[in-house]
């Protein structure tokens, strides 16, 4: 498939009023409302080429269907990276990850995926192709259309090509794992989140035992990833240990070999389902309120007699909450009421994973944003016949 063919497909679908479900690696299929039952699936996976690799510029242009892993390998050969931090990198696509507006744990340090996008080519519903930005790292020529497409969930057009800037990959990655007794938790999380040497990721994990490594303890565990230069590693280790020691954390284990893989398993856990028996929420917020959010959400799950697994991203303030039950029916009996109760508590909670049929009935995008009317007008202007992922996005866009 070429970009022109992709655009022609969209144009034809619009003429025939055929709704399309746009799919990349299908790894984030648990996000958004379900697609229309009569929708045709349009995969971008055939658009998987590197269009222009410019390591001397620290830029690269790729087609939207390229997998994150393939891109990472290409960049790795130049000693560079783009920290997308999305789950299942082997299948997840660049276009899909950007369209979903995915936010991962290292963004506090390196920036959001959208901030790596310097240009784009999008196929629009009317079959036209529009470019924005370019291959330069600074550009204020008109509206930043590329960033508008990021996070638009494929409802404005299909990202056919993205131009990205890259950054140097860290020389060293080190994982610290530890048991986290309850009496140390608040202090340990706060100590790491405010360290002089900023860790790449700090995660408090409860559950997710199959997915995530770490010292099993009844009260959960803490994972800290440090990415830095050779010269910094020793000091980073020393300061991290001493911060944890002051917080009362008994023992810290250090992992070097396999730290990167361990990090990727954490990312996979963000959307790992337990068959049809689970729904996973992402609750955004500030780092200083994340622990309270996690504890309240856990208590809520307990009140509904739901099993729960949680991940708390101490650097960004995200809480990932997976609730599950013995079987799909048991979950189905409670999940709508739980969803209401959770949104009473944290209106911004969104659903990021879950195969359960009841997902269609949940507030998967949380409370509607203030500017929803304008978003609706934008959708109508870009996709007047509603063929692109109709009904799947915020407010039924």
């Amino acid at each position: 498939m070429t970009i022109e063919e992709l655009a022609a497909t969209l144009g034809e679908a619009q003429r025939e009023r055929t709704p399309l479900t746009i799919v990349g690696g299908n790894t984030l299929r648990g996000m958004g409302r379900p697609g229309a039952p009569d929708a045709r699936v349009l995969s971008t996976r055939a658009l998987a080429e590197v269009i222009e690799d410019a390591p001397a510029d620290l830029t690269i242009a790729v087609q939207g269907g390229m997998s994150l892993r393939a891109l990472a390998q290409r960049l790795g050969a130049h000693g560079t990276q783009i920290p997308f931090d999305a789950p299942f990198a082997g299948e997840a696509t660049v276009g899909g990850t950007l369209a979903a507006g995915w936010l991962g744990p290292r963004r506090h340090l390196y920036g959001r995926p959208r901030d790596f996008v310097i240009g784009s080519t999008i196929a629009l519903a009317d079959g036209s192709i529009a470019r924005a930005g370019g291959m330069v790292v600074k550009n204020v020529s008109g509206y930043d259309m590329s960033r508008l497409y990021v996070g638009s969930f494929g409802t404005l057009g299909v990202l056919a090509r993205v131009n990205l800037k890259t950054i140097a990959a860290p020389e060293r990655t080190r994982l610290f794992t530890m048991r986290l007794p309850e009496y140390t938790r608040t202090r340990a999380i706060a100590a790491l989140a405010t360290m002089r040497i900023v860790p790449a990721a700090v995660l408090w994990v409860e559950g997710f035992k199959q997915q995530i490594d770490g010292e099993d303890g009844a009260e959960g565990r803490l994972l800290a990833f440090v990415e830095c230069s050779d010269a910094m590693l020793e000091r980073a280790t020393r300061e991290l240990r001493s911060a944890l020691g002051r917080a009362g954390v008994p023992e810290t284990r250090v992992v070097d070999a396999g730290a990167r893989e361990a990090f990727e398993r954490v990312l996979d856990a963000y959307v790992a389902n337990v068959g049809e028996r689970s729904i996973t929420y992402r609750i955004g917020g500030f780092p200083d309120e994340a622990e309270a959010t996690a504890l309240e959400a856990l208590a809520l799950a307990q009140r509904f007699e739901l099993r729960s697994d949680t991940l708390l991203d101490a650097m960004n303030g995200d809480v990932i909450l997976r609730v599950s039950d013995l079987d799909a029916r048991a979950l189905g009996a409670k999940i709508e009421m739980f969803d209401d109760a959770l949104h009473d508590l944290r209106p911004q909670a969104i659903v990021v994973a879950g195969e359960h049929p009841s997902r269609a009935l949940l507030q998967v995008w949380g409370a509607p944003p203030d500017a929803l009317a304008r978003m609706r007008a934008l959708k109508e202007r870009f996709d007047p016949h509603g063929i692109l992922n109709p009904g799947r996005f915020v407010g039924g866009l």
Binding site: L58, V137, K138, D144, R147, S152, A231, A371, R374
Partner: protein, 463 residues
């Protein structure tokens, strides 16, 4: 009618109508437009809304204005209308040092924000050279950069959310954390054509533990730009990587005595920031690269005072041009970083062809060129030569795969150059956004989008 209603709504002291007052608002730092019908200085969001409603009733377009330091006519009226000056909306409304964010009014001067938060060990990263004067609102309108956006990113990377008055006078809010379209991203850099920002949440950064600044000199700009390309290709992204050619360095030295050598062809100002432990390795790697590329000298700034002096010289470079030329025209283009040597060659060639002196002071690490063409406004032929060579520089940048503005914006001045980088379909996509936010084209009209003359119809096709 217009004047009376404005005075009723805002009070006489917030409305300017005298011709001599209006004339002042028909200029920015470079461009001349037309005087507005009135200038208003609202104090609150509510007053901005009222002004928009009155303007709408009276059929007057609106031009929002910060400090007027723009260079492309973005804040200058070209079709009359009302200028909304944010000079009286210049406060820090909220500051949260723990969450490292602040909510500020659009008229707040950029540097005042960093000064305000500095006692908490924080700073606001975007630092355009105009930062002592230019405002956060104006910076948002142009997605302003500055020397340090090489590693920290431009304004868009630092805006967390906006309060906006729309074309009907209604207020809406955006945040980058909301589910839904990233309207914050659409508004930043939209030069006041999609809405009027009345307050912004911005991200603050922790001051780095260590900062080092070095100066490298080179026999010519070729060698210096080779060194820049090599530093980037090595994956090193200093916090700033700025170049000055001989003409510029001489002007800066004459004005500031900042410590720039004047006996070389080009100077590189390099800053890195980060952890103490990384600085020595960073320094030796940088020194190695610049020596390999033929540096004549390499020295570190020894003290904070020396660093400050070098930066003062850099940021005051445009002003220093007055030492060597009665007038100058500052162009802003951005090219791929690896094409920097070619782009500088082209600039030199163009200036030579037109018999103009050119001074270069620019964000080399970003590939963002700022050639300053020296001329005397009283010489009509020189004026013409400057206009033509400015356009040729744009063309040269585009031929190298670059863009027509790295950080100053399009405004009125460069709107017709948009067709050289974007197709009708590309521009039509932007026009769809405009259709939604400003269907009547009442917000900063005649900006960004090409004029009818060179682009018959930049209008989104009805699907």
């Amino acid at each position: 009618m217009l004047h009376e209603r404005l005075i009723d709504a805002l009070g006489a002291d917030a409305v300017k109508t005298a011709p001599e007052d209006l004339a002042v608002y028909s200029f920015d730092a470079y461009t001349a437009g037309r005087p507005p019908a009135a200038v208003v200085l609202p104090r609150t969001t509510h007053e901005v809304s009222a002004v928009v409603r009155i303007a709408r009733d009276c059929g007057e377009p609106i031009v929002p204005r910060g400090a007027g330091t723009g260079l492309c006519g973005g804040a200058v009226p070209v079709a009359g209308g009302l200028v909304i000056s944010f000079a009286r909306m210049n406060r820090v409304l909220e500051f949260d040092p723990v969450r490292r964010r602040a909510r500020v009014q659009p008229g707040l001067v950029n540097l005042d924000l960093s000064t305000h938060v500095a006692p908490s060990g924080l700073f606001y990263a975007p630092d355009p050279s105009s930062q002592k004067v230019s405002t956060i609102g104006g910076n948002i309108a142009t997605n302003a950069g500055g020397p340090h956006c090489l590693s920290y990113g431009t304004t868009i990377n630092h805006v967390l959310g906006l309060e906006v008055v729309d074309e009907r006078g209604e207020v809406f809010y955006t945040t980058i954390d909301d589910a839904g379209y990233d309207l914050t991203a659409a508004l930043v850099g939209s030069e006041g054509t999609l809405g009027i920002v009345t307050s912004a949440w911005v991200r603050l950064m922790r001051a780095p533990e260590a900062v080092r600044v070095w100066l490298a000199t080179f026999p010519d700009v070729d060698a210096a730009s080779d060194a820049v390309s090599a530093i980037i290709a090595a994956g090193m992204v200093p916090t700033a990587l700025e170049m000055m050619d001989r003409v510029a360095a001489q002007a800066v030295e004459a004005a500031f005595h900042a410590g720039y050598p004047t006996d070389c062809g080009a100077v590189l100002l390099i800053e890195t920031a980060g952890y103490d432990d990384d600085m020595d390795a960073c320094e030796s790697e940088l020194a190695r690269i610049v020596r390999e590329r033929g540096a004549l000298s390499w020295r570190a700034a020894r003290s904070q005072a020396e660093r400050d002096a070098l930066w003062a010289g850099r940021k005051g470079a445009a002003g220093a041009m007055g030492r060597i030329s009665p007038n100058y025209y500052l162009q802003d283009v951005c090219v791929r970083r690896s094409t920097l040597p070619k782009a500088l060659h082209a600039v030199e060639q163009i200036a030579h062809t037109y018999g103009l002196t050119v001074a270069n002071v620019f964000h080399a690490g970003d590939g963002n060129l700022h050639p300053m063409l020296c001329y005397d406004r009283r010489d009509a032929r020189a004026v013409q030569a400057v206009i033509e060579s400015g356009n040729e520089i744009l063309r040269a940048a585009i031929e190298l795969g670059g863009t027509v503005s790295g950080e100053h914006g399009i405004g009125f001045e460069k709107r017709d150059a948009m067709t050289a980088v974007y197709s009708t379909a590309d521009l039509a996509a932007m026009a769809r956004v405009r259709d939604v936010f400003d269907p009547a084209r009442a917000l900063n009209p005649e900006k960004i989008f090409p004029s009818g003359a060179s682009c018959p119809e930049v209008k989104a096709p009805s699907a």
